[in-house]
Amino acid sequence: MNTQFWLTQAFNGISYGALLFLVGSGLSLIFGVMRIVNLSHGSYFLLGGYVALSVIWTTGSWLLAIPVAALTIAVVGVAMERVFLRPLGFDPLRQVLLTVGFAFLFQQAALDIWTGNNFDINPPDALTKSIVVGGLYLPLYRIFMIGTALVIGVVLWLVMEKTRMGAAVRATVDDAQMARGVGIDTSRISMLIFALGAFLAALGGVIGGAFLGIYPGLDFEMLPIAFAVVIIGGMGSLGGAAIGALVVGLADNFGKALFPEVSYFTLYAPMALILAVKPTGLFGRE
């Protein structure tokens, strides 16, 4: 337990947090805008990984796989939102259950198309090396993950804070009824946010597939962790999702390293406590 241990664990935690940010930010925005608890978000993550695998197998290009997978799943997300979720209107329980039904359908479809085997997404060789900083071995891939999350986070933040579109989204999160009243097309906002959420989750799946692997059951493993991110950070807030992702990433890594027997407990118990005290999350918009 020297400094090196702490630094390595912290680095791993931060890079895992970067991945969680991709998954959590979309989930958080979807909840914020539509008040939908999207239980098929883990499926988007997994399907993103699978689509990327198919692209890599046919074209051999990892760089091409990232946008293709993310866009494909974004289309799936939009279709789900338009065809099934939207007609239900505002009925949270039915919407939640519907997303679970879809999660099961996606699970079976993935099993049929990509079999039940475990796969790895292999990034280009350039990213598999490590660099040494002050005696620490830092895998380039994890640095790439942190970089991606940073770029996406900054872009999202700029769009949300500086554009008219972003202002409309924030207005919808704060008070959807009022937003409709002043002429914001909340239905279109919902569609965009759902697409964005699915896009980000699938992106997470492609990037995370390199070190988590892609296997059946990953969808329902990822889902509660993404919820932990959203709840700790606060629903509907980007900054919150970033902090939540960082906290969960670090808690997960240190939990597994320090107290392996109760590691998941140390992750979910604070989540339950935060929810009990402040249901909108630590940094949630009221």
Partner: protein
Amino acid sequence: MKSQHIKVLIVVAALAAIAIIVPNTNSFVILLTTRALAFSILVMSLDILLGYTGLPSLGQAAYLGVGAYLTAILATRYQFGLGYDFWLVVVLGILFAAALAAIFGLLAIRATGVYFLMITLALGQCAWGLAYRWNSLTGGDNGINLRARPKFGIDLANEVTFFYLVFVLFAVSLLLMYTLVRSPFGRSLAGIRERELRMKILGYNTWLHKYIAFIIAGGFGGLAGVLWAHTAGIVSPENVVLTTSVDALLMAVLGGAGTLVGGVIGAFIVFGLREYLSTLVPWWQYALGAVYVLTILYLPTGLMGIPERLRQRRAATGNREDVKKMAPVTS
């Protein structure tokens, strides 16, 4: 009032039919029915929260887990609960699960709607995390294998005997829960479901009502767990995982929330599809997913709501004919 009597008679007749027919079928059907009955107790316990109190819980599997792990740990470590002391395990399973619900409830009850869903998800994941990781107690990912079923005068290793045991405990649970929801307490739960604020204004302590309902549901979940452990012969994190809670919720909704019996029907359909259809066709899970999606889209009141919807439709078309008859007069 009379239609209520008819409904009760139908349920009693259906239960009698199960008790008579199932033991005379093959062991596959007996095992399937036993599993479905044991799990039905969990689904009904969830229905008390979902259908009667309006609290959609996504962590009900935690209580199943407490009952199941308690049974497995006592049986394999201390050889406890394999004779007459099985009944003590039943009581302990109920008490432990109710105690866990009492702790979880303190955190969860204040939340409503989607937030209740999330907080019960988080609490359920706490239970799952312990089951999955606490290797020295729970056997981790591998779970715990139960080598034998209890023997006390009757031998529960015999599948027909065991079926009857589960059946009787199921029937008792159904009766107790039915009595509960028909009691004044159950009526006030329904009042909270419909409009909590009004109940508060009328002077009801709604928090306490919901808290007690939560604990009772947990206790029944524990009973389901004890039975499940001996039914399946293995207890693993699979029993506590999020998808198990989701399954229970979907079964309740599929059959019709707020009916108790609906959840049982939902459980039988899902177990039937899963275990029977899966031996016939590879696409069984599509069928299951489609059943869920279609139910939620087109049958928000579940299968139990079908007669009511038919009646409404008939009434609606009847009215339209009346209107048609009236039309020439007015024009």
